[in-house]
Symmetry: C2
Subunit: 138 residues, 2 copies
DNA sequence: GTTTATGCAAATTCTTTGCAATACT
DNA sequence: AGTATTGCAAAGAATTTGCATAAAC
């Protein structure tokens, strides 16, 4: 089981209340969160600006990765196997148009793609949109 | 050859200076553009707010589609075969980390993906990032 | 005690809305 | 002429920066 302390300790980052609160939000809500989402969740425990800075720092240290979205505001999710400055989030993202949540589908392999000559790919991101298993039942 | 007048005529939209200017920007720059990009390109020919409204209208009429991006500001590109209210942009997007441009790779087929039971997909978007053919040469 | 992170204030950028004036058919 | 689009003003979000205070090691 991942804990905020574990994650911060591994990355040799100071264990602060704000950082723990941000990580705990991602653990509790299993879907991707934006800065405004976090601001609402944490309005009593930490400042708006602090959240921006924590998100930046977590991106750099491979604790969070960016999640593609077509709504304008950037979303983030916990990394599974990212190292500093290099992300290895080769997985799919699924956004449900009913509940609005975006989840990482880690277990599904990324498909093979043949690019034209001369293209060099470092990172790839995929966003599927539709109705998730939970929402379809209701 | 596509022209702004053709596109607007087909969609039965009024042919205005601003709309032509927006479409011409997309034709001239072959990569995806954001509202701020357009605002710079068109600062003498049309108003900031007008650009937002044109982008909305073009999305609805299938003239433009959203392009996934991890930088926060939404990007748009010309649709190839979209109809009103339903987009068929099942193609890849490639963002070059050197020149910063995102292009549509229409000729590459979207790979097949097997989702878990109960997921229903309406739309899918893919963003590859790396170095494009042009930038790699230099 | 030293260093790093946080909070607050303020500025900047991005986006939306209302309404009167203008341009299009 | 009639209708749809635009421009302007202004408000509301989202994001960034600087600096003094507070928390972590």
């Amino acid at each position: 089981m991942v804990s905020a302390e574990n994650i911060l300790g591994e990355k040799k980052l100071r264990i602060t209340q704000s950082r723990k609160a941000v990580i705990d939000s991602f653990i509790a809500n299993r879907h991707a969160l934006s800065q405004p989402d976090l601001e609402k969740l944490l309005e009593n425990s930490c400042d708006r600006v602090t959240i921006y800075r924590i998100l930046d720092s977590f991106l750099q240290h491979g604790i969070l990765h960016k999640v593609p979205d077509l709504e304008g505001t950037q979303k983030y999710a916990l990394c599974d196997s990212c190292s500093d400055h290099h992300h290895h989030d080769e997985h799919l993202h699924f956004k449900c148009t009913v509940c609005g949540h975006t989840e990482c589908l880690d277990e599904i392999p990324m498909p093979q793609i043949n690019l034209p000559e001369g293209y060099q790919v470092d990172e790839w991101n995929m966003l599927l949109q539709g109705i998730c298993g939970d929402c379809e039942k209701s």
